[in-house]
Symmetry: C2
C-alpha cells in the first residue's frame, strides 16, 4: 500500500472555491498562467510523489544515511528522488522567468508540493533547503553571487543548506561562536575564512548532485580578536562544499567536513549532521580554513536569514499538514476495510451477524473527523498564508505599498500559528491514525507509525513551539502599536459578519466569544510590565490563538461552500462542526488562565522539582 | 546516562504518608511485613532496574528479536534480565506463602515494580505475563494444573503468555475462530486439540527459560462442528509450548509454532508474534494439533480471563506512568544542565552574560510541571487502585463481605481510568520530554524518543482507549443501579469536605463544580435509550472522568502533605496547582458537549469523509 494522495477535489476547493486563486491571474506577474497550468503543475507533482517519492518512504527510514568515515551514502532511491525533483523545474517554480522560473503563485506551489511532502517528507528536505537557500541569495546576494551560487541550484544542478545552529546554540543564535576572518576581496565579494562547528544541518553532506552551497551564520572578530556578543555581530556567508572554478563549475574541495551524522527518530531520508568548518582536512587555496563569501553587510546576517524565515516556517506547517493528511487518508482507508465488532445494543450485539467495518463505530468516526479537521484546517491556514505572500508581491510590483504592508502584517502575525498549529495538531492527528489502526498501527507494516515519528520533528525545527509563542506574544501582537493584531481581528470579524444570516450563525457566536476573549487577554497581557511575567504562558497563548484562527479558517471554508449539498460539502461541514463544537471550546481553559496571567509555571522553583 | 530512578521519597510519600500502607500491616495476611521489608523489596527492584534492566534499554530496541526460520533470538541482555527477574522471587511476591510467595501487598509490589518498568518496559513484559498467567491458574485451575503449570512459573523456571486476539479479532473477541476439539481426559483435566492462529502474543516464542505456558481462548465446536457465535462459546485452555512429562519437566514439543514476529514501533525487547496452534509441524502424542487442557468450565473462558483483566489494565497504567516518570526525570536533568538563551527583557537580553539553564525559562518549567503532574498523578491513581486490591482481599479473608464488595466496586469503576488516563497523558508527558530536549530529544542519543515510542502501545493493548470508554459509560457507571458511580462520588466528596478549611478551598471548589457536572452528565447520558447514541461520545466521557479523577488524586495528596514546607512538599503543591489550574478546566469543553450528547461524530457518514 502506497501513500494515498490528498484528493484534488480538496486542493481545488481550497485554491479556487475558497481562496479564489483565479483572481491572481489578473496580475501581470501571473498573466501566463491559468487554471490549466496550475493543474499541470499539480499533476506533475502528484506523479512524482506517486512514482518516485512514495515508493522509498519506508526504505529510506529503514536504511538511513551511512557514514563510512570518508563518504556519506544516501539511499539510492532517495538520491533518485532528489534528482527527479531537481530536474522537474520545481526548485525555481515561483521565481522570475529571468532566472529560469515559471512565476507560479506561491499558493499554487504549496498546494502542488503537499503531496510530495505527504509521500516522503525526508526526501523533500534536500530540495526545500535548496529553494530557501537560492531565494535568499536572489534577495540578498550580488549579481556575481547569484550567478555562481543561486542559479546552479535553481537549475537543479546543486543543492543548498542553511547553517544556523551550533551544538551549544540552538534557539539562542546570539551565542554562536563560528568565527569568520577577513582574507581578501574576491570575484564573489569579500572572502573570509570560517572556523567553527554547525549542528543539525539537513542535507549537509552527500554527493547526490554536483555541489552543496552552505549558507552559514558566523561572527567576524573585532580588532582584538573578540566576537561581539548577541545577534548584532552575526554575518552571513556563502560557503560552497567545493569552490567554484573559473568556468563556474565545482572544483577544489573547501575545508568543510562532516563531523558526524545525527541519528534521528524520523526524517531519516534526510542526511542531518554536524559540520566542521575549517578543521584543516582540506586546504583550499593552499591553507586550512573554510572559504566563505560575505552576503550583504557585516552584522546583518540574521536579518537576511530571517527574511526567509516566514517562508521556512510556513513550509514546516505545510509539512506537518501533509503528514497529518496522509495519516488521515491511511486511517480512513483502514477504517473502511477492517471489520471489527458490532454496534452496541441488542441489535448490534448479535454475534451471528457479520462484523462492521471500523468506520461504523462513532468513536472511530470521531477520530477520523478530528484528523480531517486538523489536516484540512491546517492546510487552509498554510495556503491562506501562501496567498498573502503572492498578494504582497503583486501589490509591491504594482506599486501598492499600503496593500503590500497590510499583507505583510497579516503574514507576520499568522506565521507563528502556521508553523506551530499544524506541528502540534497534525501530530496529534497522526497519533489518532495509529489508534484507528489498533495493534496493526503499532507495527512497521503500516506507515502511520512513521508518519507520527516524522511529524514529531515539526514542533522542534525552525524555531521550537516555545519560540513561536514568544515570537507571537512578545513581538507580533504588539508590533506597530498592535497593527498586525488589529488586522487579524478585522479579518475574523469580516467572516463572522458574513455568517450572520447563515445556518452557521450559532457556531459563529461561539467563535465571536472566543475572539473577544482573545482580544481582552491580549490587551491585559500587554499591560504586564515585566517581560518575564508577560511571556511566562506564551505557549498557552499561542495555542489559544491557533485554535481561534483555525476555527475561523473552518468558518470561512464552510461559507465558501454556499449551498452545495454533495458528499464533499457535507463532509466539510461536519468537520467544521466538529472543530467548532469539540475543539474551539478547548481555548476557554487556556484563556481563563491567561486572563489573570496565572503564575504557576513562573513561580515554580528549580529546587522544588 | 542511564535511566534515573523514580525517587524513593516520592514512592514513600505515596505509600506511607498518603495511602497509609502501614495500616495494612494489621491484617493477618501481612503480619510478617513491616516498613523495612517493603523497603527491602523496593531496594532489590531498584538494584535490578539499575544493574540489569536499564543497561539494555536501548540495545534491546536496536537489536530486536530475530527469527531465522527456526529459532527466535532475543537480545542476550534481555534474556539475562528476564532470568534475573524470574530468580528474584518477584513473580510470586504477592502470592500466598503456601505457593512460595511472600504475601507482599499488591500496592507495595506495584511501587517496587515501577522502577523496573521505567528502566526497561519491554523486558518486563515476559515476567508480567508470567505473573498474570500463574495468578489466573491459581484462581481457576485445578490443583493438578496449578502444580504442573502455575508453580514452575511462580518459581521462576518457566514463563507464560495470554493468547486472546486473532488476526481478524482484536477488540472483538467474540469473533475468534480458534477451535478446540475434545480428545480425552488427562491428568491435567479434559484434553483438547487446538487449531487456529493467535496474534499479538507477547513472549510467545523464545528459549529464555525452560518452557512457555500459553493460556489460550478458543471455541469448542458443537455437535454439528460449528462454533457458537459470541463470547458465550469461548473456553480457556492451558497449551504448554512443551508438554509436561511424568516428572513435571518440559518434554515433547507441543504443536505450537511461530507464524511470524511483529515488528513494532516500540517495546522491542519483547518478542511479539503470531502463533499457529495445530499447524502440524509437531505431532504431540503422535498426531498434529496443539494439546490443551481446559481451565474451568466450557464457555466460561472469557469470564476467567476477565477476572485477571483489572490487574492487567492497572498494570498497563503503571507501565505508562513509569515511562512518563522516566521521561520527566530525563527532561528535568537535561533542563538543569543545558544552558540555552536568556530571560526575556532588557536584563536577560545582555548577550555578554552567560546563558541560563533551560529550567530558568518559565515555558520549560511549565512543560516539566505538566510531566510531573501526569506522572505523579497517574502513579497515585494506580497505587490507589492497587491498595483497593489489597483491602478487598483483606476484607474477604476476614469475612467482611460488604467491605470487600465496596472495594471491588471502586476498583471496577476506576480500572478503565487507571488504564486509559496514564496511557494518554503520560504519553503526552513523553512528548513534552522530547520537546524540553529540543533537537537532541529527536535523536536516538537520548532516551526520551524511545520512551515516547514505547509508551504509544499503552492506549492500544489490553483494551483500546475506545474500549475503555465503552466499559466505563456502557457498563461501569450504570452497574448495580449506579452503585460504583455513587461510591466514586462519595470518595471525592470526602476529600473535598476535608479541604474546606485549608488553603486548597478555592481550587477544591473548581473540582466540586466539575464533579457536579460529571454527575449531571452521567445521569443525562444514562437516560439516552439508544445505546449507539448513548455511547457515541464515550471516549470524551472517559477523558473527562479521568481528569476529574486525577484532580481528586492531587487534592488528596496535597491534603496528606499537611503543613510540610520542604522543597518536596512545595513541588507537590505546585504540581497540584498546575493540574487544578491548567488541566482540570479542560474537562468543561468535553462535559458541555456530553451534556447535550452532541451528535457530530454519530451523524457523520462514511460517504462524507
Amino acid at each position: 500500500m502506497s501513500v494515498p494522495l490528498i484528493p484534488r477535489r480538496e486542493l481545488n476547493f481550497q485554491l479556487h472555491d475558497w481562496l479564489d486563486v483565479g483572481a491572481l491571474l489578473q496580475a501581470p506577474r501571473f498573466a501566463a498562467h491559468s487554471a490549466e497550468t496550475f493543474d499541470a503543475v499539480m499533476d506533475g507533482c502528484d506523479r512524482l510523489a506517486w512514482e518516485v517519492f512514495a515508493p522509498c518512504y519506508q526504505n529510506a527510514d529503514r536504511e538511513e544515511p551511512h557514514f563510512d568515515g570518508d563518504r556519506v551514502t544516501v539511499h539510492p532511491q532517495v538520491a533518485e528522488a532528489v534528482r527527479a525533483f531537481a530536474g522537474s523545474g520545481l526548485v525555481s517554480a515561483t521565481e522570475d522567468e529571468s532566472v529560469g522560473g515559471m512565476q507560479l503563485p506561491v499558493v499554487v506551489e504549496k498546494a502542488a508540493l503537499v503531496n510530495l511532502y505527504a509521500a516522503n517528507i525526508g526526501a523533500c528536505a534536500y530540495p526545500l533547503l535548496t529553494m530557501g537557500n537560492s531565494r535568499l541569495l536572489l534577495a540578498h546576494g550580488t549579481p556575481a553571487q547569484v550567478e555562481a551560487f543561486a542559479l546552479p541550484q535553481l537549475r537543479g544542478e546543486w543543492t543548498g543548506t542553511m547553517c544556523l545552529s551550533e551544538p551549544q546554540a540552538g534557539s539562542s543564535l546570539s551565542d554562536i561562536t563560528t568565527r569568520a576572518t577577513y582574507e581578501r576581496e574576491s570575484s564573489f565579494g569579500p572572502q573570509y575564512r570560517l572556523d567553527g562547528r554547525k549542528m543539525w544541518i539537513s542535507g549537509g553532506e552527500h554527493e547526490i548532485l554536483g555541489n552543496i552551497v552552505h549558507l552559514v551564520l558566523a561572527k567576524v572578530p573585532d580588532a582584538d580578536g573578540k566576537l561581539l556578543p548577541g545577534t548584532r555581530g552575526i554575518s552571513l556567508f556563502i560557503v560552497p562544499r567545493s569552490l567554484v572554478d573559473t568556468h563556474g563549475n565545482a572544483g577544489e574541495r573547501n575545508d568543510v567536513t562532516l563531523a558526524g551524522l545525527n541519528h534521528k527518530l524520523g526524517y531519516r531520508a534526510t542526511v542531518n549532521c554536524a559540520l566542521n568548518f575549517g578543521e584543516g582536512r582540506f586546504k583550499p587555496e593552499g591553507r586550512a580554513g573554510a572559504i566563505g563569501y560575505l552576503v550583504g553587510k557585516p552584522g546583518e546576517g540574521l536579518a537576511g536569514m530571517f527574511h526567509m524565515m516566514n517562508d521556512a516556517r510556513i513550509g514546516v506547517g505545510l509539512g506537518a499538514v501533509a503528514l497529518g493528511y496522509a495519516g488521515y487518508l491511511h486511517a480512513l482507508e483502514y477504517a473502511r476495510n477492517r471489520p471489527q465488532g458490532r454496534l452496541p445494543g441488542p441489535a448490534g450485539k448479535d454475534p451471528s451477524q457479520p462484523q462492521q467495518p471500523l468506520v461504523a463505530h462513532a468513536d472511530v468516526r470521531r477520530m477520523l473527523l478530528a484528523q480531517k479537521s486538523y489536516a484540512e484546517g491546517g492546510l487552509g491556514l498554510v495556503l491562506y498564508c501562501a496567498k498573502l505572500v503572492d498578494e504582497a508581491r503583486i501589490a509591491r510590483e504594482t506599486g501598492n505599498a499600503a496593500a503590500a504592508a497590510s499583507c505583510d502584517l497579516l503574514l507576520d502575525i499568522l506565521t507563528p500559528i502556521a508553523k506551530s498549529w499544524p506541528s502540534q495538531w497534525c501530530l496529534h492527528g497522526n497519533d489518532l491514525a495509529i489508534q484507528v489502526h489498533g495493534g496493526y498501527g503499532y507495527t512497521r507494516d503500516y506507515k502511520v507509525e512513521q508518519l507520527w515519528r516524522d511529524n514529531r520533528l515539526n514542533p522542534i525545527h525552525e524555531g521550537t513551539h516555545g519560540i513561536q509563542g514568544i515570537d507571537l506574544l512578545g513581538r507580533k501582537v504588539s508590533m506597530f502599536d498592535g497593527a498586525a493584531f488589529s488586522a487579524y481581528g478585522a479579518l475574523l470579524d469580516a467572516s463572522i459578519a458574513r455568517a450572520v444570516d447563515t445556518p452557521w450563525a450559532a457556531l459563529t457566536d461561539a467563535l465571536s466569544i472566543r475572539l473577544a476573549s482573545l482580544r481582552a487577554v491580549t490587551a491585559s497581557l500587554l499591560q504586564v510590565a515585566d517581560p518575564v511575567a508577560r511571556l511566562a504562558n506564551a505557549s498557552a497563548y499561542l495555542e489559544a490563538f491557533g485554535h481561534v484562527t483555525v476555527a475561523w479558517i473552518w468558518l470561512d471554508q464552510v461559507l465558501a461552500l454556499g449551498d452545495r449539498d454533495d458528499d464533499f460539502a457535507q463532509g466539510k461541514r461536519q468537520a467544521a462542526r466538529y472543530f467548532m463544537q469539540w475543539e474551539l471550546p478547548r481555548v476557554d481553559a487556556w484563556l481563563d488562565r491567561l486572563a489573570d496571567n496565572d503564575d504557576t509555571a513562573l513561580a515554580m522553583r528549580d529546587d522544588w522539582f
